[in-house]
C-alpha cells in the first residue's frame, strides 16, 4: 500500500450566512487556499472528491454546478455523501484513491450552505413510517439518547455546559470558526433557550455556511512537496442500524465509534489513547456527545468522561486537547464538518494551526459522526 499524506488545507470563514459567495464560490475559495497551502496549482490535481448533503440546500447532483469551483472541469470528480460523516467519508475515499496508485494528488472539498435551505426539513427527510414522527432532526433524537445517557452515567447539565464553553473559547482563537465566544460561561449555556430537554441552545452545534478543502499526495510527491506532511495512518468506517429504536443505548455504547477506534488504534499501535494521541478533532454535534465519545474512544473508563472535562484534561493545555478548533459545536457546515476535522488534525500535525496550535503534536485523531450512530476514525501522524 502506498503511503499517503495531507500536504495542504484551506477553509473559508464559516458563518451564519455567506451572502457574498455562492456554493461554487465557497468551494473555490477553500480550494484555492488549500492549493496555495500545498504549493501546487489546479493543474497538479489528478482527482477530486466532493462532500455535501444536497437536500440541506434542496439540490440534486450539486457537483454538476459546484464541481467547477473545485477546478473539476474534465477531471475525475466524485461526490461522496453519507450524512454527517460525509466529510470524513470523503477524506477516507480521497485517501484510498490516492493510495490506489491511479492518482498522485487528490483534492477533497466539503461544503454546505445551510442559509440557502431549510436544514430541519432536510433532517426530517428520514424514514417516513417510523422515525420521521419521533426522531426527526438532530435536537429531538439527541434529547432522547442524552436523557438515557445522563440517567445511567450521572452526567450533569453543568458538566455538558463545560464542553460547550471549551469549544466556543477555543473557537475564539480560530479565525475560520463560526461561533467565537471568548467570554462564554457555564451559566450562559445553562440559561440559554431550552430546545428539547436537556439540550439548551448553546449545547447544540450551529448551522453554518462554509467550505473546507485538503490535498492528499502519494508518498514520493508528499515528501518532495512538503517538509512536514501529515501521514494517514488509519482510516476506519463503521455504520449501524437505520432505525433509532434498533440502536441499543446509542450514546452509552456508541459501538461504531468504539469498534472503529479500537481497530484504528491497533493499526497504529496505540494502547493508551489519552496519552499517545497528542490532539483530537472529534465530531461532537452536541455538548453531551463529546462526553459520550470520550468513553467510546477509550480516553477514559465508562462513566468517567465527566472527570476529563472537570479536571481540564481535554482543554488546550490538558493531557489531550480535544477540538482546539472549536469543533462542530462552533462550526457546522455539515458536508464540510468532517473535512474540517481531518484538516484541523492535519494542521496540528503540520504545525500550521496558528493561535490554536497545540505544542509538539506527533499523532492526531479525527472522527466523523453521522445519521444516528455512524462513525469514521482517521489517525494522522508525523511518522510515516
Amino acid at each position: 500500500m502506498r503511503r499517503v499524506a495531507i500536504i495542504g488545507t484551506g477553509q473559508t470563514k464559516h458563518t451564519k450566512s455567506h451572502n457574498d459567495l455562492n456554493q461554487a464560490e465557497l468551494v473555490h475559495q477553500a480550494t484555492t487556499r488549500a492549493l496555495v497551502d500545498a504549493k501546487i496549482s489546479f493543474r497538479d490535481v489528478d482527482a477530486i472528491i466532493l462532500s455535501n448533503m444536497e437536500l440541506f440546500e434542496g439540490r440534486a447532483l450539486p457537483e454538476m454546478w459546484v464541481g467547477e469551483g473545485a477546478g473539476g472541469y474534465l477531471k475525475p470528480v466524485m461526490k461522496i455523501a453519507t450524512g454527517g460523516t460525509s466529510g470524513t467519508s470523503a477524506c477516507i475515499a480521497g485517501c484510498h484513491q490516492c493510495a490506489s496508485g491511479l492518482f498522485d494528488i487528490v483534492l477533497v472539498v466539503g461544503w454546505e450552505k445551510h442559509s440557502e435551505g431549510a436544514t430541519q426539513t432536510g433532517m426530517a427527510l428520514t424514514d417516513p413510517l417510523w422515525d420521521r414522527n419521533i426522531a426527526s432532526g438532530a435536537v429531538g433524537n439527541f434529547a432522547l439518547s442524552i436523557s438515557q445517557y445522563m440517567a445511567e452515567r450521572g452526567v450533569t447539565p453543568e458538566q455538558a455546559a463545560k464542553v460547550a464553553v471549551k469549544a466556543r473559547r477555543n473557537a475564539a482563537k480560530n479565525p475560520y470558526a463560526h461561533l467565537q465566544m471568548p467570554d462564554i460561561t457555564v451559566d450562559q449555556v445553562l440559561s440559554s433557550r431550552m430546545l428539547a430537554n436537556p439540550v439548551h441552545l448553546l449545547d447544540m452545534c450551529p448551522q453554518s455556511d462554509g467550505a473546507c478543502a485538503l490535498v492528499y499526495a502519494a508518498e514520493d510527491r508528499a515528501e518532495s512537496l512538503c517538509a512536514r506532511p501529515a501521514w494517514v495512518r488509519a482510516t476506519v468506517t463503521r455504520h449501524d442500524q437505520p432505525y433509532i429504536g434498533d440502536l441499543d443505548r446509542r450514546l452509552l455504547t456508541m459501538r461504531t465509534l468504539r469498534d472503529a477506534a479500537r481497530e484504528a488504534y491497533q493499526q497504529v499501535g496505540i494502547t493508551d489513547p489519552l496519552r499517545q494521541i497528542d490532539v483530537a478533532e472529534i465530531y461532537e454535534p452536541v455538548s453531551y456527545a463529546e462526553l459520550a465519545w470520550y468513553e467510546a474512544l477509550g480516553l477514559c473508563a465508562e462513566g468517567a468522561a465527566a472527570r476529563l472535562i472537570d479536571d481540564g484534561s481535554t482543554e488546550m493545555d490538558g493531557v489531550l486537547p480535544v477540538n482546539p478548533s472549536g469543533g462542530v459545536l462552533s462550526t457546522n457546515p455539515v458536508g464540510a464538518s468532517g473535512v474540517i476535522r481531518v484538516a484541523e488534525a492535519a494542521m496540528q500535525v503540520m504545525d500550521r494551526a496558528g493561535a490554536h496550535q497545540v505544542e509538539n503534536v506527533r499523532t492526531a485523531l479525527a472522527t466523523g459522526y453521522g445519521v444516528y450512530a455512524w462513525s469514521d476514525v482517521i489517525i494522522l501522524s508525523i511518522d510515516k
Binding site: A60, L61, E68, C95, H96, A99, G101, D127, V236, P242
Partner: protein, 302 residues
C-alpha cells in the same frame, strides 16, 4: 493497470419493472442476494460496500440510510457515491487497489417512478442562471438533439425501478477490470459544444490508456452504452471511436427500461454476462447529469 488486477466475482440485479408496492430496501436486498449467490459468497466475505443513490430521487436525506442492513453494513464499512453506479464500482476498485479491502460489494438503486422524473432534474441546474429558465434533463436532451441537427424524434428511455449489484475483489477470477476513467463536463449548456463530449473523451482516454486499447473497434468484443435517450447511443459511440461497431448494446440498451444511476452498473453486468459466454474485452459506460455532463467508462476483460 497496476497489480493486483481487480476481479469481478459476482453480479446480480432485479428486474426493472415499475414496482409501486416494493420498498427500496427490498429491491436492494434482491440485487445483493443475487450477486452473493452468483459469486458463491456470503455477506461474511464482504469487506466493505460502496453504494450509489441520489437523495432527491429517494426523497431521503442520506439515501443509503435505509439500506444499511440489506447491504450488510451494520458495524461494517460502507461509503456512498452520489451518482451513477459505475462510478461507485470505480471507487470500490480503487479502495481494493489501495490495499484497504479485499472484497467490496457495489450496489446502485433507484425507484424513478416515485417522483416527478424530469421535475427533479431541474434542481441539478445552477440556481442562478439555468434553473430559473425551467431547464431539466429532457430539455437539455432536446437542445442536444437540436445541436446535432438530428431529425429523429426525441425518445427517452422509460422510467424504471430496480437495483443492481456487483462484487469486486483482489481474489483472482477470470473477469477483471482493465481500465477506468471518469470526468465532469462544463455545467452551463451555453458554454458547451453539445455535439461533442470532452468529458467522455477524457474518461475514455484514461480507461483506454490503462487497458492498452489502441483500436477500439477492433479491441472490444462487446460494448454497452448508457443511452438514456435514443440519440445518445450514436453520439457516445462516435466519441468512443466505435462508429458502426456491431456488438453495441446487444442488451437493447436503456430503452428496455433501466433506472437512472443503476444504468452504468447494469451496462457492466451485461458485459460481464456476455464475457462469461465469449472471451474478450468489453466496455461499460455510464453518464449522469444534464446532456451527459458526468461520464464514466470501464474496460473489463476475460
Amino acid at each position: 493497470m497496476k497489480a493486483p488486477p481487480i476481479s469481478i466475482l459476482g453480479v446480480g440485479r432485479t428486474d426493472y419493472e415499475p414496482k409501486p408496492g416494493t420498498t427500496i430496501p427490498e429491491l436492494v436486498y434482491r440485487a445483493v442476494q443475487a450477486a452473493l449467490t452468483d459469486a458463491g459468497l456470503t455477506m461474511r466475505n464482504i469487506g466493505a460496500r460502496v453504494t450509489a443513490s441520489v437523495d432527491l430521487w429517494d426523497g431521503l436525506t442520506a439515501s443509503n440510510v435505509m439500506i444499511t442492513e440489506v447491504v450488510g453494513a451494520v458495524m461494517q464499512p460502507e461509503s456512498r457515491v452520489a451518482g451513477d453506479g459505475l462510478l461507485a464500482a470505480c471507487h470500490g476498485a480503487m479502495s481494493i487497489l489501495s490495499g484497504t479491502y479485499q472484497t467490496v460489494l457495489i450496489v446502485a438503486h433507484c425507484k424513478s417512478t416515485m417522483g416527478d422524473r424530469w421535475g427533479i432534474t431541474n434542481w441539478t441546474f445552477d440556481p442562478i442562471y439555468q434553473q430559473p429558465l425551467g431547464l431539466d434533463d429532457y430539455y437539455a436532451a432536446a437542445l442536444q438533439v437540436s445541436a446535432l441537427r438530428s431529425s429523429a424524434p426525441l425518445f427517452a428511455c422509460p422510467p424504471a425501478d430496480g437495483a443492481a449489484a456487483i462484487i469486486l475483489s483482489s481474489i483472482p477470477a477470470p473477469i477483471t477490470i482493465r481500465g477506468m476513467g471518469w470526468a465532469l463536463d462544463e455545467h452551463y449548456l451555453g458554454d458547451r459544444d453539445l455535439t461533442d463530449s470532452p468529458a467522455l473523451r477524457q474518461a475514455a482516454r484514461r480507461a483506454y490508456n490503462l487497458a492498452g486499447i489502441i483500436d477500439p473497434k477492433h479491441d472490444f468484443t462487446f460494448v454497452e452504452l448508457s443511452d438514456h435517450f435514443d440519440y445518445q447511443r450514436a453520439l457516445w459511440a462516435s466519441i468512443l471511436g466505435l462508429d458502426g461497431f456491431p456488438n453495441l448494446n446487444l442488451s437493447g440498451g436503456l430503452a428496455r427500461g433501466v433506472p437512472s444511476f443503476v444504468a452504468g452498473l447494469d451496462c457492466l453486468i451485461e458485459i460481464v454476462l456476455r464475457l462469461r459466454e465469449k472471451t474478450g474485452i468489453g466496455l461499460a459506460h455510464g453518464c449522469w447529469g444534464p446532456a451527459g455532463q458526468g461520464q464514466v467508462v470501464m474496460v473489463v476483460g476475460q
